[in-house]
Symmetry: C2
Subunit: 208 residues, 2 copies
């Protein structure tokens, strides 16, 4: 497990108080490394939304921000259907088969963590998106997903969502299989908006 993964995991588990600046030396001591790799990781995590700048200098774990989630899902709802549509013509049976396999493996294995579910979720969509052969669009969407990752721990706590989500996945896959591009795009947009809405509601209600 790399330093990057360790720090990211510890952020996700709430080991660092939100808003409180992270000191490079403290992190270096804690993880038994020097400050150089810590600096590298902090910059990387900052770019992925796991950390934000604190004042002029230094970084901190950001507060959970419903508005950020709203923005992220708003952008995803605009960009992902676009990329999926661009992939339409290049969707071979083999690719759709692999996408289906991912969905089935999600159903087969129970007791998956939120992180694992989120990952498989992305693998399913990414499998389709990749077919479009649009690296820049893909990279930007992938980055939006990474930014969402910080919140998915919450999403899965409303566990009953999982089944709904799977139904939507299969509906998208079916539409793609039958060549109904616009329908698949519309379903995907709804899928993303629904997930975003659920997450925002969840963040706005309890004690975050």
């Amino acid at each position: 497990m790399s330093l990057y993964e360790k720090i990211k995991a510890d952020i996700q588990q709430g080991r660092f108080a939100a808003g409180q600046p992270l000191k490079q030396v403290e992190l270096a001591d804690f993880y038994r490394v020097s400050r150089i790799p810590v600096r590298d990781v902090l910059q990387k995590l900052k770019n992925e939304g796991w950390l934000i700048r604190h004042g002029k200098r230094g970084v901190a774990v950001p507060q959970f921000d419903p508005l950020e989630v709203e923005d992220l899902y708003l952008m995803r709802a605009r960009l992902e259907p676009l990329l999926q549509s661009l992939a339409l013509e290049k969707l071979s049976g083999e690719i759709l088969g692999r996408a289906r396999d991912i969905l089935l493996s999600m159903e087969a294995r129970s007791g998956l963590s939120a992180e694992q579910i989120g990952n498989l979720n992305w693998q399913f969509h990414a499998c389709i998106y990749r077919a479009a052969a649009r690296p820049t669009l893909f990279a930007t969407i992938e980055q939006l997903h990474r930014q969402c990752e910080r919140y998915i721990g919450y999403q899965s706590r409303s566990l009953h969502y999982q089944s709904t989500s799977q139904e939507e996945h299969f509906a998208i896959l079916e539409a793609l299989h039958q060549g109904h591009g616009e329908q698949a795009a519309a379903l995907l947009a709804q899928h993303i908006e629904a997930a975003g809405q659920l997450l925002v509601n969840h963040l706005r209600q309890p004690q975050p």
Copy 2:
């Protein structure tokens, strides 16, 4: 002028051959610094699209890629009208006044470099976008602009575009002033698509 700015400028001026990997020690020697700040800058520039990974390790200046430009402007055409629409209600006369001043200063001063024009261009739109108070959306769009920066040197070589662009800017401003939100959004989308189309054509025709 910071190391970051120096290296970015040298990339823009074609000092480094595209595709050829950049060595940390060479850069450090050239700029008379150690490898540590070089590493920091390289990572940052990589995130902004000025550099890409080269093989397993190291970075290189990417080739000019018309498909990348197409993707970037496609995304901008989807996201920027969205953010502009979200700003609608909060657009005070003062903000629109500042936006107008930026446009006028672009007309007033002649002999501006491509970089300067591009910057004022962004200032105009950013001025409006900021009013929406949607930091995450804004940040993502800003990043897309940064990625476009690498190409704007080309855009301005078709200098006659500048006047058309300005007309579009004033049309958008006028629509916003009169509260015609959907019209302003449509104009903005056209504005972005036109710029993207022009740039893509320009990249596909001559000897890049």
